[in-house]
Amino acid sequence: MPSLGADMDEGTLVAWRVGPGDVVRRGDIVAVVQTEKSDIEVEVFEAGTVAELLVDVGTTVAVGTPLARIEGERAAEQPVATKATPARAASPQRSMAGRVLSPLVRRDAAALGVDLASLQPADPSGPLHRSDVAAARRTRPATLRSGAASPYARRLASERGVDLAVLSGSGSGPAGAVLARDLPEVSSVAGSEAPPLDPMRAAIARTMERSNREIPHYYLAHTVDLAASVGWLAGRNAGRPPAGRILLSALELRAVALAARKVGELNGSWVDGRFVAGEGVHLGVIVALRGGGLLAPVIRDADRLDVESTMAALSDVVERARRGALRSSELSGATITVTNLGEDGVEEIYGVIHPPQVAIVGFGGVIDRVVATEGRAQVHPTVRVTLAADHRATDGRIGGRFLSKVGSLLAQPGKL
């Protein structure tokens, strides 16, 4: 039923001028409709064959009601009304939940690969606009691979040691992308509240992080009888002023230096996928700083020093490390590192290798233990010596040989 005036709501069909099977052309008169003002002839805007009359003569129907079905050549299946309805344009296609989808929106959605069913219009009560489609395209890139994480989330994860793989796909971003908010405890580091990391702490963190990420460590331990060394030191130091005395640490360093020369597989670096033997034995010595942090100054050519010189070198680097007076060149180039936590009552320490080195030797505290000597149980001062070594460079047997060597050297301090 066409609208034949702005105030027309309904009309009464008074006559059909065509019947089923009649061929009609655009402009033909097909019916007569009575309005409140007059009878008006209704023309058709399509060409085709009248398939069916839908309204009986004498019936009053609302504007927009189909009156007949015409089968055209091109759209034989499409039901077409009389089409004499210029005031009502072809009604937009309705889709899910009665939502209006304009042809433009459908075209854009198809072109951009956006699923219209998943979209909400910006104005919830209004229709979808092409801007909604464009926004969906922007916020949901079709190429986003699952398991993505934002750059900031990646940075935080790295800083906090969080494994992003664990969170992969479970984030709150598009396609499960991990955002900063998805990381555990992110609130405590986000923004400016977090105190800046002390540079030394940060450097240690980076190095240790790299070490445990890259180096497959293996660990060995050995209990060494120190009776001979302790006895030797007592005799050596007796009657000397403090400045001339030697500490057990110097003997331990000396033993490591000689053992490292003997078992060269542990003395060097792992670079570009292979072991490079050190030229000379350069001992990194871990020095804990008052107030936290540590430095690892290097005693160069430690295998060529005697015990006296080793002691002098040790007290020199320790004193200067604590005073902050080391040169940067003295902090690099070690071929193997020694750490000693014995004085803090620690029985044994398994170190973390300082890359690119391949081994770190740990000394625990001097502890009286019962040892069997010549078939008798005796109480001797002992120390637990440990080795953490890079399994890419060596196997356990090499490490075992090394520790045995350290032990036998400490048992014969005269050879040091």
């Binding site: 926004a135 922007r138 750059p151 900031y152 971003g173 955002l179 908010r181 923004g191 400016s192």
Partner: protein, 323 residues
């Protein structure tokens, strides 16, 4: 002192003409008519023809005359009605004003100031409404500034006049009615720094000109959704003060750029690219961009409004970025 944007422009202009002996204003209808947008209304009567000169309708000629006057030691202030008409003077601006210092081996500076209106929102259609400041911001040798507030409208000219190189001031025609309380004394504006107009913690909105007002309107609404937006007014489009927005993004980890120019190759593209380059590891979401629809600005009111960025668009875009 309550001033609107137009009166602030006039106040800044009057201050410059009085306090800089070498300064004078010229352009179409700036004298007897009082300026196309009435910015110079009354100045000819007050300051005389040596200070305020009407020119023939030839942008190329009077901008060229301004360049010559600047090279000769004066401090000309040239008014062009709108940015669309400035294209008739583009040869003078690009090939002369922007290049002569460089091409003369530093011998000839061009201390010229060109003022023009920019922007849409008043149903003036596609030949009077565009925002082409982004084009000019592409050109080395020019400084491009865009006052978005009443204080900047008054103070930017004085700073621009002190610049030894050409400065283009883009006055937004849709902002002429905004008002603010300013001190009696004119305060010069720092053209080297962007301004944080509203501090926030969750997203950085980088904008200028009319975009500042749409962004501030949006930032008023966003706390209702638990989003605190920081709004940065670029003020100077060339050279960009990237330090300010990069510092902000390092705190908020999200960014949205709002501009009235077209999206493709615009100022927003440049800002977003810089954020991508310099702040990549701080970003928790892709940088968002809002710009005018890529059409000639329509005449019809509803179509013009639809083409321009509105506060609702900013809210929606912020939502999309913050997620």
């Amino acid at each position: 002192m309550k001033l609107d944007y137009r009166a602030a422009l006039r106040d800044g202009l009057r201050h410059a003409l009085i306090n800089e002996p070498r300064a004078f204003l010229m352009g179409e209808d700036v004298g007897a008519y009082g300026g196309c947008f009435a910015v110079s209304l009354g100045l000819l009567e007050e300051l005389g023809e040596n200070k305020v000169r009407d020119t023939p309708l030839s942008e190329s000629a009077f901008v060229g005359a301004g360049i010559g006057a600047a090279m000769g030691g004066l401090r000309p202030i040239v008014e062009i009605m709108t940015v669309n008409f400035s294209l008739l003077a583009l040869d003078q601006i690009m090939n002369n004003a922007a290049t002569l210092l460089h091409m003369s081996g530093g011998q000839f500076a061009v201390p010229l100031v060109i003022r023009m209106t920019t922007g849409a929102g008043r149903q003036l259609a596609a030949q009077h409404s565009h925002s082409l400041e982004g084009w000019y911001a592409h050109i080395p040798g020019l400084r491009i500034v865009a006052p978005a507030t009443v204080a900047d409208a008054r103070g930017m000219l004085w700073t621009a006049l002190a610049d030894p190189d050409p400065v283009l001031i883009f006055e937004h025609a849709a902002l002429f009615g905004i008002t603010d309380d300013l001190p009696e004394e004119l305060e010069p504006v720092d053209l080297d720094r962007a301004a944080v107009r509203r501090p926030g913690t969750d997203i950085t909105i980088v904008t200028y000109g009319s975009g500042l007002h749409r962004s501030l309107e949006a930032a008023e609404v966003l706390p209702g959704e638990g989003i605190s937006a920081e709004v940065i007014d670029l003020r100077t489009l060339r050279p960009l003060d990237s330090d300010t927005y990069l510092e902000s993004v390092a705190r908020t980890h999200r960014a949205l750029v709002v501009e009235e120019g077209w999206r493709t190759g615009g100022i927003g593209a440049e800002v977003a690219a810089q954020i991508g380059e310099e702040a990549f590891w701080d970003l928790d979401a892709p940088v968002g961009r809002l710009a005018t629809a890529e059409v000639p600005i329509p005449y019809a009111q509803h179509l013009e409004a639809a083409a321009l960025v509105q506060a609702d668009d900013v809210v929606a875009a912020v939502r999309a970025v913050v997620g």
